[in-house]
Amino acid sequence: MTYNFAAIVPELMLIIGEPILMLTASTMGRRATKITTWGTVALLIAATIAALVGTEPSSAGPLFGGLLSADPFAVYGKALIYLSAAVAIIAANSWFARDDEHGPEYPILILLATVGMSVMVSATNMITLYVGLELNSLSAYILASYRRTDARSAEAGLKYFVLGALASGILLYGISLLYGFTGSTQFSAIAAALGRDEAMGIGLLLGLVFTLSGLAFKISAVPFHMWTPDVYEGSPTPVTTFFASAPKVAAVLLATRVCIEALGPAIDAWRQIIIFAALASIFLGAIAAWGQTNIKRLLAYSSINNIGFVLIGLAAGGAAGVSAVLFYMAIYVVMTLGAFLVVLNLRNAAGEPVEAIDALKGLSSRRPGMAAALAVFMFSLAGIPPLFGFWPKLMVFNAAVEQGLFALAVAGILGTVVGAFYYLKIVKVMYFDEAEEELHYACGNLEAAFIGLFALIVSPLGYLLIGPIGSAADNAAGALF
């Protein structure tokens, strides 16, 4: 048994940095909030650099007896997760500024969740997978009820916890069945056992269905999406921002790795499940979003909708499909973070954050810059061509067509059209409705810079990034095959 600690330096940095920040917080109390916030951001950026730099082929193979892997797929995921977690921490600053309950624990909990996510994307064994997933989920439950004096936040935390525990149980049951019928928790060994069996037994099939169901909960794919709107609405907005970005990336990448690496030979068995989840997510996400009046709920349905498109890429399978999934997640994170950053900085006359869509009325005349940025994010989330959000959708459909899944691609395109309606509704409210109340914009320079940067990335200028992101995604996807 050899331990290659050099390959997990990014995780080690986070794990070692966390107690240092926590001890600082415990001696300094609330005054340490600034230190832990920027300390965590610095740690995350340092870990990103460490992850990107430390990818020699020698360290990319299975580590710790096959429990983890630091292959390009994991590195891609880690870079995306660390950076979006850092943005989510920075975005929380101004929102929590009016809140005396905000403490140094917030960035520390995100840091711990990030360690879990980083294990999720690098796990190549069911045990590590589960431990990473729980580390992320438990931190997320606490974050959801972070404002415990707020009844809605407490409700969100409780709901998330109960449903999340149920999903973990389902996932564990699936894993135990897979283990029982293949004799291993190792992804490669499960794939080998699946490849040996010509006909798949009912036990294996059940294990596969339960495992995928548990994972579908984590990526909030229909029919396991029920928690998403409630948790997104109830949690404090910065926490929702975090939930919609990094954990989504981690869960999607985890599901991708499990499907390709562990269940790869059984693609015919899981493809139909993924296709159903994809189409159901696209259409339910698009239709249920119509009647929403709360912008956080709307963005929750938008995330369900987008996960559906990601799953089309996964259903296509193959290097092209996985590459499309990875590409999609990178752009999705930028669009979602951008949209949430704008929402985070909306204030009514009393300085309270607003969440109602009606509050956006007439935003274009008051805050043309912000309205334009939000419009860009909305158009991009809808996948309307000149904007960059169109490109990942195209890649996903392309991968599906390459695999002969024409009907799926056509249904997906139909779903895009249906979904475009509610994105356009927001744009209409901002540009064509009369304002009812004065809106304030409590945007710090840094947040404004982020909004501008993200808007630039998803604007047509983003097409310049197709080269670098595409080659990184191709490289990462290649690691799974």
Partner: protein, 200 residues
Amino acid sequence: MIGIFAFYLFATLTILSGILVIFARNPVHSVLWLIVAFFNAAGLMLLLGAEFIALLLVMVYVGAVAVLFLFIVMMLDIDFAKLRSGFTRNLPIGLLIALVLLAEMLIAITAANSGPLIGDQPASTAQSNLSAMGELMYTRYLVPFELSGIILLVAMIGAIVLTHRDRGDVRGQKIHHQVRRDPEEAIRMTTPESGKGVEL
């Protein structure tokens, strides 16, 4: 011989204390009988050679779960007489569940006699369960084991974040105030005249 004697001792005590858990009037006594049942079950596990499970039973169930039960029973003011009033009404359902459990046990016993599931590897006798498990945990499964530790840390931080709050109306010990106190300021030397006392 002594093994058989020990088995019957532990088994009888487990069943007896199990019955007493149900029939004890006082819920606190119920929990205490439950602890007795756990201890005897641990004894049964020891007789089977599963010393790790025996220790787990004592540490987790007696040490944590039963104590938690005790706390809840004592802290929540539950009217147990009222809870018990529906006994005859709920008896059929209870009996049904008992029957299902009995059937499951019988099936499990017959299934156990029908041969091994996968892989017919006899347990190694060279190493005790505890050392074999410890060796795996700290070598092969080092990463998940350490991560579980971090999960426990998250649970601890979470419990504090969700319940701790600064209360103004409570006097607490402020250690840094005590440590920082300067003798120069805290002590005043006076020479009071006799019979006049000190001014405070």
